[in-house]
């Protein structure tokens, strides 16, 4: 099975079991260099885009002998450049079965060429690719390779063929993983004495509490903490060096110099799991403030003063070179308190909330919004530190979101599997008799409802601006969001965080929709 065949199977299947066995089949027989690149792409890593989309588009348009506008119309409808190109280009005469690493090699040859040489190389590339291989090849060319496989599934497949544990593979895959035959061999190497000082552990993730909280069992079996909206990070202190990682496996080095400076003062080598928060006058600042720190190349004194941060640690994963993840939550927490102490500073041990019943906790949870927290985290005190989102150990119990009834006024086509439908909507609220847009929302409707809204949009379009249609105001939807704050970058004067559709309010007309002032009233005083 070559990579194109694997890609087809993964893409077509909706069943995890089938995807897993396709991956196992593939990795079981692929040469190491191919396997390395497959791991690279399937775990969401990508090549830098070597040929700009503009050149790819004009090249494909020219090759398929259709006018520019028709290519653009078609692309807008399909929603995926790689797919548009592979469906539109003339049939290939090649029946060559190339390996993945050969593809990568050919694609890399586009680097640094000028436009006309790139076009010539694209022609050659295209000539060497059979129709069957065309789509995944084009995917590599355009960069993104999402194929409905999670990193966790790739890890499971590799664990299965190597006989290693999921944890070992996941750990080895963390960070900057360079694809090569050697790297792949190391990845599945049965000798587990490897170590890379900078490498973080896979993060444990929480599941949302659904339904009755009492379903979790005895409240005393859990440790409760506030759930903050910050940057989930691991701080690694090994052999006198500090590494800071985000959950997105990005190095945060240099973004938070004050955290790194404090880490240098730690008495022990250790790995901490926690949340970086912007914090001023004893309460967290909105996430947008923290974003200012990530967005900058260099962090000046002024910004550090405006947006002071702290590292709220809630777990300890390694202590003096020993992996502590298999020990209980309780034990790890005790060690964490010992390592960080109680002195106020950049590092804080996350506050533990004591309560001995769910009703008490529920009451405390009600105060989360005033504390600028998102709700509670509940962790089983006897649980080891898990890899990924394993049910039953960590729960997030968020407060009910804010909701508001808004009017749909613009629609845009979706992407990927929703490319053919109008699924991206802009919603508005009343302000002095005018509908003012304030939020975009993509998710929350069922497929059936989406089809229905799509039909409505097509039949009630007022104007088209490129891919966007303005729609006769008629549909009212209830939107939920996590947070709200004043913003002068938005026409409405407010910015909402994580807006999504809760339900379609068939029972409401646009006159029943909420007003902008209702939304503004929800902004809690600082």
């Amino acid at each position: 099975m070559n990579f194109a065949e694997l890609y087809r199977r993964l893409d077509e299947s909706n069943k995890t079991g089938e995807k897993l066995s396709s991956l196992v089949d593939y990795f079981g027989q692929a040469p190491d260099d191919d396997a390395a690149w497959a791991v690279f792409f399937l775990t969401g890593r990508r090549l830098p885009q070597l040929a700009p989309s503009r050149i790819l588009r004009s090249w494909a348009t020219e090759q398929s002998k259709i006018p520019d506008w028709l290519f653009e119309e078609t692309y807008a409808w399909v929603g995926d450049l790689a797919e548009t190109m592979s469906c539109i280009l003339p049939s290939s005469t090649s029946s060559e079965e190339s390996s993945l690493s050969e593809w990568v090699e050919r694609i890399r040859q586009l680097r640094g060429l000028d436009e006309s040489d790139q076009r010539a190389s694209l022609n050659a590339l295209f000539d060497q690719t059979s129709d069957r291989d065309r789509f995944p090849m084009m995917k590599l060319l355009t960069g993104a390779m999402r194929v409905g496989v999670s990193q966790g599934l790739v890890v499971r497949a590799l664990a299965k063929i190597s006989g290693l544990s999921n944890e070992t593979i996941a750990h080895r895959l963390m960070g900057n993983w360079e694809p090569s035959a050697e790297a792949y061999a190391r990845l599945v190497d049965p000798d587990t004495a490897d170590a890379d000082l900078s490498r973080p552990y896979p993060f444990a993730l929480a599941n949302p509490v659904e339904g009755d909280i009492a379903g979790l069992g005895d409240a005393n079996a859990f440790l409760a903490e506030w759930k903050w909206d910050g940057i989930r990070s691991q701080l690694i202190r090994r052999s006198g060096t500090t590494y800071l990682w985000s959950r997105g496996e990005e190095r945060l080095d240099g973004k938070f110099p004050e955290i790194e400076a404090s880490a240098a003062g730690l008495a022990y080598d250790c790995v901490l799991d926690g949340e970086i928060l912007a914090w001023k006058e004893d309460q967290p600042l909105p996430f947008a403030e923290l974003q200012r720190r990530i967005g900058r190349k260099t962090i000046g004194k002024k910004l550090m003063q405006e947006v002071p941060v702290r590292f709220v640690a809630f777990d300890l994963l390694e202590f003096n070179d020993v992996d502590w993840r298999s020990r209980s939550q309780q034990e790890r927490r005790a060690k964490l308190e010992e390592v960080l102490g109680t002195e106020p500073g950049i590092f804080r041990v996350s506050e533990q909330i004591y309560a001995n019943s769910w009703s008490q906790l529920a009451l405390l949870r009600e105060s989360a919004r005033e504390r600028k927290a998102e709700g509670l985290m509940l962790k089983r005190i006897d649980s080891p530190y898990q890899v990924g989102r394993v049910r039953g150990h960590w729960w997030k119990w968020k407060i009910e979101p804010y909701t508001i009834d808004a009017v749909l006024i613009y629609a845009q086509r979706g992407h990927g599997r929703r490319a053919a439908l109008y699924t991206d909507f802009t919603f508005a609220l009343w302000d002095n008799g005018v509908l003012v847009p304030f939020a975009k929302a993509y998710s929350g409707l069922t497929d059936h409802e989406l089809t229905e809204v799509d039909r409505f949009v097509r039949a009630n379009t007022q104007e088209k601006f490129g891919p966007v249609r303005s729609v006769t105001p008629h549909l009212v939807m209830e939107l939920a969001f996590e947070n709200i704050q004043v913003s002068n970058r938005h026409k409405s004067g407010v910015a909402v965080r994580f807006p999504r559709i809760v339900r379609w309010r068939h029972d409401k007309t646009i006159n029943d929709a909420d007003r902008l002032e209702d939304l503004k009233r929800m902004i809690s005083p600082r």
Binding site: D11, E12, K15, V78, A420, L421, D454, R458
Partner: protein, 364 residues
């Protein structure tokens, strides 16, 4: 829906030939409509799909082999006169005849001739082979009304042989893995085309109730189809894992599927050519098979009719009309093409292939 009249040649004979009215395409010289979407006095129907054949008109004309389909859908008692392909008859000052459209059993293009000028309303049509209906016939004309359900250059149909090969391979793989093969397809037309191409020696073929009805109508017209049983007829200990079950798309996700145990779900439709629409249907496999023309056959057909005026309905009308206007039929040979906002569609989705008749939902 707002109906916009296309810019038409202002010469009177053309207006007399065909124009768009609120109720649909109308021939003033013969005082009749083709596939009207409101009740009228006289309606000529191209075929039995629900976006073309609507209830309530006083008098209908249609091709003879579509009679049982139309009566089962519009009611036994409708006033329906049938004509054979090629038979010419006169309505008012217009000469009318029906010609094969290759879309499904009894599907017809309507040829209308008034004072030496000819218009052809093609309804839905395809150029690929289909053993269950008479193949499409090119009818030379001045004005051609074409559908454009799949009028984008990304739509290129693979040969039916290739598609059946992959269906058969999928079926066999499922048999080995012990999974029921559930193939979703539109009940009228597509299902029978599939049946005709399936290799019944692989295993038993079972039908959803909504597929069984139209299939019987085909058999009664003498179309030879492999032996099937309906799902409800199957015995308690029936081994579903060896069977291919042909069902309507609306059965997806319903309790009706429980009896089959582990299932691999596939769908046969032109939309399966695009990954986004395939994933949205959440099927395991998508087989690209359509009863409509793809991009190239659409252009080829327009060219072959020799029409100098083309009206485009049903789907990507704006795109196809613009392409025809700018590129003509052949170099130096211009064509006047305009989109026609009809009620045959949403604007990109084919009613027939994307949803099914409400009547299908309730039956099993």
């Amino acid at each position: 829906m707002q109906v916009t009249t296309p810019e038409m040649d202002p010469t009177p004979f053309r207006r007399d030939l065909l124009r768009l009215e609120p109720a649909g395409l109308y021939c003033p010289a013969g005082d009749f409509f083709v596939d009207p979407w409101r009740p009228v006095d006289t309606a000529i129907l191209t075929h039995g799909h629900s976006d073309h054949a609507r209830f309530g008109s006083k008098r209908y004309f249609a091709e003879v082999s579509s009679e049982s389909i139309l009566r089962s859908r519009l009611g036994k008692e409708i006033d329906l006169a049938t004509k054979a392909y090629g038979e010419r008859w006169k309505l008012g000052n217009a000469w009318v005849s029906l010609h094969p459209a290759g879309h499904l059993l009894g599907s017809a293009q309507v040829r209308i001739e008034v004072s030496g000028r000819v218009a052809v309303v093609s309804g839905d049509y395809k150029r690929q082979s289909d053993p269950t209906c008479v193949p499409f016939e090119v009818v030379p004309c001045d004005l051609f009304v074409t559908e454009s359900t799949f009028g984008l250059p990304v739509f290129r149909w693979p040969s039916p042989e290739m598609v059946f090969d992959s269906i058969h391979r999928w079926w066999r793989e499922n048999q080995t893995a012990g999974r029921t093969s559930l193939l979703l397809a539109y009940a009228l037309g597509k299902s029978q085309r599939l049946l005709a191409g399936l290799d019944a020696s692989i295993g038993p073929i079972c039908l959803h109730g909504a597929v069984h009805g139209p299939t019987q109508l085909y058999r009664n017209q003498g179309i030879s189809l492999p032996k099937t049983i309906t799902v409800s007829e199957a015995s308690k200990d029936f081994d579903w894992s060896q069977a291919l079950v042909l069902a309507v798309p609306s059965s997806q996700g319903t309790p009706w599927l429980r009896r089959f145990g582990e299932v691999s779900t596939a769908m046969a439709s032109g939309w399966m050519a695009i990954r986004g629409t395939r994933r949205r249907r959440a099927v395991d496999r998508g087989f690209v098979m359509s009863d409509h023309v793809d991009w190239l056959s659409l252009l080829q057909t327009v060219r072959e009719t020799g029409a100098t005026t083309v009206w485009v309905t049903h789907g990507f009308s704006n795109v196809v009309a613009r392409y025809l206007r700018e590129h003509g039929l052949s170099p130096g040979n211009t064509v006047e093409a305009s989109p026609l906002e009809t009620q045959f569609q949403g604007d990109a989705e084919d009613v027939e292939e994307n949803s099914s008749n409400p009547e299908d939902e309730t039956r099993s």
